[in-house]
Every structure is written in C-alpha cells, then in structure tokens.
C-alpha cells in the first residue's frame, strides 16, 4: 500500500529536502508511525498528546482529518495526504 505524503517546506529537514514522500498505513496514525521510521523526528512535529498539533493541518484527499476521524481516519491505496501549517485566510 502506497500513500503519497506532501511535506511542507518547514518539515523537509526530516525528509532530506523531499517534497513528496511515500509511506504506508491503514490509518493516519499508522502512516505517521511509518513516516517516523524513515524520517526520525517528524512524528513529534505532527502529533502532540495523541492529537494533531494545533497549528498543523492534515488532509486526506483534501479533507481535514479533524472532521473525518482524526488520526484514526482510514487510508487506502492511492490516497494523497497533505500536511500544511495553519494560515490566515486570503482575500479577507
């Protein structure tokens, strides 16, 4: 099972500068464990106390996991996971 993970600039120090990495897992939390194996330290930047960190947004196929099952959101082959820092809105 391969899931494409898009990593923001600020976390690429953990992925040797790679923008997209591949990882596996039946859920977002399993995926993060798998990421940690190859990119030690990244988990701590994403998760705090069993929840996504406050200013980190994780999307599975563009949907924010906070509203779709949190870290237990299931994943399937071919899903795209996007990690982004929280930012203020645009034309406001």
């Amino acid at each position: 099972m391969a899931i494409e993970v898009r990593v923001p600039t600020i976390l690429r120090t953990y992925t040797s500068g790679e923008k997209n990495v591949s990882a596996a897992g039946e859920s977002v939390s399993a995926l993060i464990e798998d990421l940690e194996v190859n990119h030690a330290g990244i988990k701590d930047r994403l998760v705090e106390g069993g929840q996504p960190r406050r200013f980190v947004n994780i999307y599975v196929n563009d949907e924010d996991i906070r509203f779709s099952g949190g870290l237990e959101t299931p994943l399937s082959d071919g899903d795209v996971v996007v990690i982004l820092p929280a930012v203020a809105g645009g034309s406001r």
Partner: protein, 315 residues
C-alpha cells in the same frame, strides 16, 4: 427594492438555482450571490457590522482612524463605509495581492501599508498588530477575532438562506476569517441542526506557507470547530477549473475563491447522489471575478492559470 442609502442595501442577496450544475433533480445546488452587495463582496456584511458595533460601543467617533489587516475585500468594504461615515482608514495588505484590489482600495480612500508576500495574510496580521501598538488611538476592528463579523452572518446570511430555501440540507462557505461559517453555522445549529456546514479553505503555493513555523501558525480567534462538519482544502487548479465551469454552465462570473467553494459543494452533491439521498446545497458566491482578471486565472489552459497563481493570494 428601495433603500434610503447605499449602506442600507447591504445583504438580502438573491439565492439562485443552478439547474445545469446540479447533478440530479433531487440533488440541487443554490448560489447565494454575495457579489450583489454594494462593493461587490460578502465582506460588506462583516465590515458594516464591525463598524456599527464599534460606533455603538463608543470606540469609533467621526475623525477616527480605522486600521485593518486585509488582502482586499474587507478593506474595500470598510473603506466604503468609512468614507460615508467620515473615518480615515489604513489597510495592511500583503504585497502579492492583485493590482485591482489596491486600486479599488485607493479609490475608496484607503491608505495602504504593504506587508511582505512571504507569510501572506499571517504576516499582514502581524504587521497590523505592530502598527496598532504604535498608534493606540487607532481602531483595529480585527476581522479575525471580532464577533460582530460572525454575528453579521448569524443575523443575516443564515436566516436569509433558511427563508429562501427551507429545505436546505448543506451550507458551503469559504474559510478565511471563519466569520461566515461561524455565523451561519451557529444559526443553523439553533434553527435547523441537521444542516451540514462545510468549509472550503484555499490551499496556496509554497511561497505563502514556505516559512511558517509549525509552532506559530494562525487560527483565527473566531474559529470554533463545533460549527463545522467537514473542512476541505482546495488548491488553485480545482478552484480555477470550477470557477470556469460556473461561468460556462450557469453564466455566473465569480472570483477564484468561489471556485474552491463550488468544488466542495459539488463534492457534497456527488456524495448525496452516491448515497441515494436528496439534497439542497446552498453555497456562497463570495465575489465577482473582476478583481482577479490580472491574475490570469480566466485565460488560457488550466495548467497555465495554475502556474500564474503560484505565489499569489488568489482567495
């Protein structure tokens, strides 16, 4: 419809059906035409509500200076009301926003302070907060944390939709200050709790997120996730594709952020069709496309448009 003056005409916008974009007779899309507000965007509602609240509280008196971090629409709305009510206004705006927005702000009399492109609206907020400290007599209405922003939608946008579409099942809006979704969301939680509230958040290029420290991100003070049921991040490609589709099939010329909202609305519609449920999905046309012509989003291929939007604050 007759009004005593321009400000009185804010709100009460039309809700129009989209028969060609609706996937089936049982799953219908409805567009709330917020571009019909006086300065052409949904922000007229929040701007007016914030100024009237500040006046009522005695914070704003004629001759006062208003300060606001804005990448466009809110500033334009505030400048219009400020002009009619006799206030000076200073807008802090990221330098990577379209030229049309700058010209419009200047026309309505706003003074513009540019903030660095890197960091987008976050940076504009930071710069505005610093200026506010230097000028304690200026009034920062601060749309990201001003409850009058959400209140305008709780009292206006939400009730208007329910009145025009009692059978509404979904509301889809853009997530920026979060004012629209917080206000409409709170209204439906009370008035018709089964209505699903869906947020469409614009996803920008790396320039905007590039240097963000994950420990110092930004969540607007107004934001309360209990009023939202799903939240989508929509990139420029999908936004451009949808905004063109909206014009092509329904004749509506909307701004790029509306493309992101429509993308999320169509996803809800597809879900309803798949589940064999009927649905009436109301979504926001946040503004018209006029202010974004120079971004290149409306010409050439979608690939070209996507490339041109890289690094721009398109929503």
């Amino acid at each position: 419809m007759r009004y005593a003056n321009l400000i009185d005409s804010v709100g009460h916008t039309p809700l129009v059906g989209l028969p060609r974009l609706s996937p089936s007779p049982d799953v219908r899309l409805w567009a709330k035409l917020e571009d019909r507000n006086p300065t052409g965007s949904i922000k007229d509602r929040a701007a007016l509500a914030m100024i009237e609240r500040a006046e009522a509280e005695g914070l704003l008196r004629p001759g006062c200076t208003i300060l606001e971090p804005t990448s466009g629409n809110t500033g334009i709305s505030l400048a219009m009301v400020a002009k009619l009510r006799g206030y000076r206004i200073v807008c802090v705006m990221p330098e990577n926003t379209s030229e049309e927005r700058r010209q419009l702000l200047r026309m309505w009399g706003a003074e513009i302070v540019s903030s660095p492109a890197a960091g987008g609206s976050n940076e504009a907020v930071r710069v505005a907060k610093r200026i506010a400290e230097e000028h304690p007599d200026w009034v920062m209405l601060y749309q990201y944390g001003n409850t009058a922003n959400a209140e305008a939608h709780f009292r206006g946008t939400g009730p208007e939709i329910l009145e025009d579409l009692p059978e509404v099942t979904h509301f889809v809006g853009g997530l920026g200050t979060t004012g629209t979704l917080m206000g409409v969301g709170r209204f439906f939680r009370e008035a018709k709790p089964e209505v699903r509230i869906v947020a469409a958040e614009p996803r920008y290029g790396e320039l905007v997120y590039g240097l963000r420290n994950l420990d110092e991100g930004f969540v607007p003070e107004l934001y309360d996730p209990q009023y939202i049921d799903a939240r989508f991040s929509v990139g420029p490609r999908d936004a451009v594709r949808r905004v063109r589709e909206l014009l092509e099939s329904e004749g509506i010329f909307a701004g790029i952020s509306t493309g992101a909202i429509l993308h999320a609305a169509l996803a809800q519609a597809a879900k309803a069709v798949k589940a064999g449920e009927s649905a009436d999905i109301a979504f926001v046309i946040a503004d018209g496309g006029w202010k974004y012509l120079s971004t290149g989003a409306y010409e050439g291929t979608v690939d070209e448009a996507e490339e041109r939007l890289e690094g721009q604050l398109w929503a």
